[in-house]
């Protein structure tokens, strides 16, 4: 055996199910990356692939500056939802969240209400994932399919158009979001969350915010408030409370 075959990405199946000619994503799209990795996790078992359909299909979100002056201003933006049927009546729901807002983004975009709501509704497996950590994401999708009952996965997918950054930083920004604890990766199996990736040294939130141009209007006071909120949420998660 070739010694180079030992690198982990080569253990994944090389066959593609999310074909590049079937989508019209922009270059460096985080959603396309997340969907591709999800399909890579699913493609081991063909029955899973057959039951997948888009509850809310993903489309290019328009940033506030582009929409101004059109009718779409008042329209609510909904994140893309992929629903996969398991055997029986249960299903796996995957949300591809690109934090699209039609107005100027406020600090409220960092709050993720969906995972907590899913836990409250009695979903058996709830997790957050990011395509910057591909093996973590693939693991979670497989575990969500294998667990009994409904499961929900929230995937943060950076959007170069909406967040206003260069397309080559898509993966890096997702990594910064996790390292600065703005989007901690955890999974909830029996009511209490467990951090799957716990960095010993957490980045300041400022570094994540300054990478993107959509937060240019934030002032220092707001950033400090965000930092305090993120810290309290993260210590809560470390103690095992949602």
């Amino acid at each position: 055996m070739d010694k180079f075959a030992l690198y982990v990405p080569q253990l994944l199946p090389f066959k593609e199910h999310f074909l590049p000619e079937a989508h019209r994503a922009c270059m460096g799209c985080g959603i396309a990356l997340g969907v591709r990795q999800t399909y890579k996790a699913l493609e081991e078992k063909n029955e899973w692939m057959e039951g997948a359909h888009w509850e809310v299909p993903f489309k290019q979100p328009l940033p506030g500056s582009l929409i101004k002056g059109t009718k779409e201003v008042g329209e609510e933006t909904r994140p893309a939802l992929l629903q996969i049927e398991k055997d029986g009546q249960a299903h796996l729901l995957i949300c591809f969240d690109n934090e699209a807002v039609t107005a100027k983004p406020t600090p409220a975009v960092f709050k993720k209400a969906f995972p907590a709501a899913a836990v409250a509704r009695g979903f058996h497996y709830v997790a957050t994932a990011c395509p910057s950590y591909p093996f973590d994401l693939i693991d979670k999708v497989r575990r969500g399919m294998e667990s009994e009952g409904n499961s929900y996965i929230h995937i943060l997918s950076p959007c170069p158009v909406g967040w206003d950054f260069e397309s080559e930083f898509t993966v890096q920004i997702g990594r910064f979001a996790v390292e600065s604890a703005i989007f901690p990766l955890y999974e909830v199996v029996t009511g209490s969350p467990r951090l799957t990736i716990d960095h010993p040294k957490i980045r300041p939130v400022e570094q994540y915010i300054h990478l993107q141009n959509r937060f240019n209007h934030f002032k220092k006071k707001e950033i400090l408030a965000i930092q305090a909120e993120v810290d309290s949420h993260y210590t809560k998660l470390q103690e095992g409370k949602l």
């Binding site: 590049p20 270059m27 993966v171």
Partner: protein
């Protein structure tokens, strides 16, 4: 479940008179018959001396454009590459450089 819109029976006979106001696409799979995209400005090129064949570029490509060739090295299919530069940014060994296509 979302409503499924049946595919157009008259594909090919579609003229400008049939387009909806605002050129809205009402059918699924409209992009399939076309060659995807125009050619990108910058294209990834691999330096085979520095490449260790780890496959990170392949894993992080959103468009599934990077494929493994028979000798274990990776190559981009330029039909699908949009030139986003994620592979260049994520390569640990600096083996990928974005160049103008010759």
């Amino acid at each position: 479940m979302a409503k499924k819109i049946p595919a157009a029976k008259t594909r090919g006979k579609h003229t400008w008179k049939d387009t909806k106001v605002g050129c809205v696409l009402l059918e699924e799979g409209k992009a399939k018959p076309f060659e995807p995209g125009e050619k990108p400005l910058l294209v990834p090129l691999w330096d085979k001396e520095m490449c260790v064949r780890c496959g990170l570029c392949y894993l992080f490509c959103p468009d599934a454009a990077i494929k493994r060739s028979d000798d274990g090295y990776y190559e981009a299919t330029l039909d699908y590459c949009k030139g986003c530069g994620i592979c260049h940014q994520e390569c640990w060994f600096g083996a990928i450089s974005m160049m103008e296509e010759a």
